[in-house]
């Protein structure tokens, strides 16, 4: 089961590289599965471990896709650091006590959607701000963040279901 999850994560990282290289979404919208991948990591993983995984995944995407090492790493590691806070905010502390992973059929669609939305909001706010590097006005950045969060949250729901389906398959 664990091996299947590793393969799923590698495949999703590869999918993110393909999306950034070949999907022409224009300058207003960014599509990223990385935030939901961080949120869907095993609840038992320590923040240090989550941040390390975030660093590796983001580095792979920067290396093979954006061409600017650090651009994706900075917001994704920040999200990894804030992951526990987001989970406690949305689901409460019991999740950690029960060692229960985030999933739609255990916690409900609304809470999972909220968690993915907050994760994407944090990720894209930092990403768009760094990428603009002071060269773009505030209104444009806000619009870009809004569009990216919307699209990535919808895509993130499907990615979360895929990750959880790999996890749940082990119980059959």
């Amino acid at each position: 089961m664990k091996g299947a999850r590793v393969i799923t994560y590698i495949a999703l990282t590869g999918a993110q590289v393909v999306i950034q290289n070949f999907l022409d979404s224009g300058p207003w919208i960014l599509l990223s599965l990385l935030p939901v991948m961080i949120m869907a990591l095993d609840i038992r993983y320590s923040p240090v471990r989550v941040m390390s995984l975030a660093f590796l995944m983001a580095f792979a995407v920067d290396f093979f896709a954006t061409g600017v090492p650090g651009l994706t790493i900075i917001p994704l590691v920040a999200l990894a650091f804030a992951r526990e806070m987001i989970i406690k905010l949305v689901f409460g502390s019991e999740l950690f006590a029960r060692k229960e992973d985030i999933s739609e059929h255990k916690q409900g669609f609304a809470k999972v959607l909220t968690a993915i939305f907050i994760a994407n909001l944090l990720f894209f706010t930092i990403f768009v701000w760094i990428e603009a590097a002071g060269a773009r006005d505030f209104a444009f950045c806000v619009a870009r963040v809004a569009g990216s969060v919307l699209v990535s949250t919808v895509a993130g729901i499907f990615a979360a279901r895929l990750i959880n389906s790999v996890e749940d398959a082990g119980w059959k």
Partner: protein, 272 residues
């Protein structure tokens, strides 16, 4: 120290170290384009782009053939027109660029290397292009990239067989432009919003602009020859009450870029 506090401290220190490392990577990628990491990244992207382009090529051969035939026809017509102009006007010595023709094929200051776009990005604020010519073909950093429709970008780093450049759709790129062949020169940069428009900035407030006026390269940067058409003037607006800027609808279609030329100024060392 309580266990929870110790754990929180460890997490925070690790976070700070990871972010510091990421910021160092980002800072290095901005200033040292020839670092080994940067080169390795560009190489891998060129390889991925090259493979994808070959696959795409195979399925778009007919459309490319039509496009090349059209381009060939346009070039033949322009060449014929240039030759006729030279015959008519004997004040031009052989090898001079014919004034008003906008042609630069045998301009002795610039050298042209034909190339093919392997990859062009359009989703980011820092878009780039990868072309299939490199050091082995004589490409040098800070050479311009142009197409038949205008400026595409500037070469930033060069590998043996590929070159990586920032495209006009990049917030680091500025082109020295001129409105009309004899008009005011001002910087042109991408507006970040649309792949078909840019903004020409720092225009004098008193300057009268006419929608449809052609914007061309000024030639002042030394990277691009003068008089390469960039686009046409669109809407104008005043900025801070002291200068104005105008939208420029670009001729270059970044979605359909394929064949380009890398242009190198032979006198670049003297200019620097």
């Amino acid at each position: 120290m309580p266990r929870a506090s110790r754990r929180w401290l460890v997490d925070t220190v690790f976070f700070a170290l990871a972010e510091f490392a990421a910021i160092l990577l980002l800072a290095n990628s901005e200033s040292a384009q020839d670092s080994w990491l940067d080169r390795a990244s560009k190489n891998s992207m060129a390889a991925i782009g090259g493979w994808a382009e070959s696959t795409r090529d195979y399925f778009t051969l007919r459309r490319q053939n039509d496009s090349l035939s059209r381009e060939n026809m346009e070039l033949s017509i322009r060449l014929r027109t240039l030759e006729e102009a030279r015959l008519r006007d004997s004040v031009f010595a052989p090898g001079d660029r014919a004034s008003g023709m906008g042609l630069y094929a045998d301009d002795s200051v610039f050298r042209y290397i034909p190339a093919t776009i392997v990859k062009v990005s359009r989703n980011s604020q820092r878009n780039y292009v990868v072309v299939n010519k490199g050091r082995a073909d004589g490409v040098l950093p800070n050479s311009g990239i142009i197409s038949t429709k205008g400026v595409v970008g500037i070469i930033e780093s060069v590998d043996e067989h590929y070159s990586y450049g920032i495209s006009l759709m990049n917030n680091k790129m500025r082109v020295s432009a001129r409105i009309g062949r004899l008009g005011v020169a001002a910087p042109l940069e991408w507006d970040g919003r649309s792949s078909s428009s840019a903004v020409i900035k720092e225009l004098p407030r008193h300057l009268e602009l006419h929608p449809g006026d052609t914007v061309l390269t000024s030639g002042w940067s030394g990277i691009f020859p003068a008089d390469i058409p960039l686009g046409v003037i669109g809407q104008e607006r005043e900025v801070d009450g002291s200068v104005k800027e105008a939208e420029v609808r670009l001729f270059t279609d970044f979605a359909a870029l394929r064949y380009v030329s890398i242009v190198e100024n032979r006198h670049r060392d003297s200019i620097r």
